[in-house]
């Protein structure tokens, strides 16, 4: 099962899986426009803070809670995920990717997911497929970081190799968040990335945009 589980996670969290991740920047496009992410060093710090103190950490906990939940508790966890979105574009990011993930996964793998936000849909699907929780969270965080790294490569003077170096340096962080978040509850959710929230709000009125968030 272990190799099969890894392969299913690789498929679900691959950029080829049609959730449309490439069109969301989590506010990074505004951060770049403001000059706060301008090279590998500043981007890497921004991304590691999002993972550790922001959306990465919150999503990891939401995923874990959805995974451990019984069917009748999933809706409440999903309502929390929706209520936590700090801006209309971040709402879009989690609901649209969730809907696309659920639609494809239902059609290909069969579990009934319904309308769920992205981390909740993934947590529920992993539970129904019998995939290991910690690994699912690690794959999710890695895909999240990888997607934002490719967004950065498109937005910042950051080369392909530099982008991969940033991502590689964040692997231990993805692992440690997965290790701790798997045991956490909704009460453990907490963020301190206020500037990132504000950037995602301001992105709504950014003049020229490549990304939907």
């Amino acid at each position: 099962m272990s190799i099969e589980a890894d392969l299913i996670l690789a498929q679900w969290l691959s950029p080829a899986y049609p959730v449309g991740a490439f069109s969301y920047s989590h506010g990074l496009e505004q951060v770049v426009a403001d000059g706060a992410a301008r090279d590998a060093g500043s981007f890497s710090q921004w991304l590691s803070d999002i993972l550790e103190h922001g959306g990465g950490h919150s999503d990891a906990i939401l995923l874990a809670c959805a995974y451990r939940a019984e069917a009748d508790q999933v809706e409440e966890i999903d309502a929390t995920a929706r209520a936590l979105a700090p801006s209309s574009e971040r709402q879009l990011e989690t609901t649209q990717q969730g809907a696309a993930f659920a639609a494809t996964t239902e059609a290909v793998f069969g579990p009934e997911l319904g309308h769920l936000t992205y981390p909740v849909a993934l947590g529920r699907a992993a539970r129904l497929q019998g995939l290991p929780l910690e690994k699912t969270i690690a794959f999710y965080l890695h895909a999240f970081a990888s997607n934002l790294s490719s967004a950065a490569i498109r937005l910042v003077p950051l080369g392909q190799t530099e982008g991969q170096k940033v991502l590689h340096a964040l692997l231990p962080l993805c692992q440690s968040i997965a290790g701790s978040a798997q045991h956490m509850t909704l009460d453990d959710i907490g963020s301190s990335v206020f500037a990132a929230d504000i950037a995602s709000m301001r992105h709504e009125s950014l003049y020229s945009r490549l990304f939907r968030s």
Partner: protein
């Protein structure tokens, strides 16, 4: 709780913490309801100071506020000031009926720059939860631990700010207020519509004075003429 007298259609309630602040092991609870058709504005007499926790325990603050049918509730406390060594676990639970109107500001300062105060070590958990007709529609969860100052110096967190405010409004005219509010915000502030009638804004500022400079016109815009004196220009 004080109720300043005077002829007005909006009832003003002023919270007063007679102990002068919150420290480890404190437990403060308040429950406030704006009854059907009423208009209630709640503020605080002074900034709420969160002092060093002597025994490593959290200070707990739980505020449960509600607006019943046709009511307007404004929750406009003054700043919460976090001191070095503070431990705070705070919850604000808001319960609205489907047609109630609501406006909230929650400003928080991490030390006071002008006084040379810094926050090297603190543990802050702040939960804001809003339900309408029993349904969860907004949740904000703040968590700052350990070296708060170093944390806030980074670009994704505070961008070196020492003051932050959250503003939340639930009202049918939220959508028309959005561009007007945005026009009042500095680059370190943002506003968004979470639903056609739910407006949320976050503002960062170098210190409490700069934060007020932004908040006062913003609250005038959103709150109209009935602001408590503490938020007047």
């Amino acid at each position: 709780m004080l109720f300043p007298r005077g002829p007005r259609e909006v009832v003003q309630a002023v919270m007063l913490n007679t102990s002068g602040g919150v420290t480890g092991g404190d437990h403060l609870e308040a429950q406030i309801t704006a009854g059907p058709g009423s208009a209630l504005t709640v503020t605080s007499q002074a900034a709420e100071r969160i002092y060093r926790s002597g025994d490593g325990r959290d200070g707990q603050v739980i505020n449960r506020i509600a607006a019943e049918t046709g009511a307007t509730l404004h929750w406009l406390p003054q700043e919460t000031i976090v001191f070095d060594g503070a431990r705070l676990d705070r919850r604000l639970d808001i319960d609205l009926t489907d047609d109630a109107h609501f406006l909230m500001v929650e400003p928080i300062l991490f030390g006071r720059l002008a006084m040379g105060e810094t926050v090297q070590q603190a543990h802050i958990r702040d939960h804001i939860t809003l339900r309408r007709g029993g349904k969860l529609i907004f949740a904000d969860r703040t968590r700052l631990t350990d070296d708060v100052q170093a944390l806030l110096d980074r670009a994704a967190t505070g961008g070196s700010a020492r003051a932050m405010a959250s503003v939340l409004m639930v009202r049918p005219d939220a959508e028309t207020m959005l561009p007007k509010l945005r026009a009042l915000l500095p680059e370190t502030g943002g506003a968004t519509l979470l639903a056609p009638d739910i407006l949320f804004a976050r503002i960062l500022a170098p210190d409490g004075h700069d934060l007020r400079t932004t908040l006062i016109p913003a609250l005038h815009l959103l709150g109209g003429a009935d602001l408590p004196r503490t938020w007047m220009l």
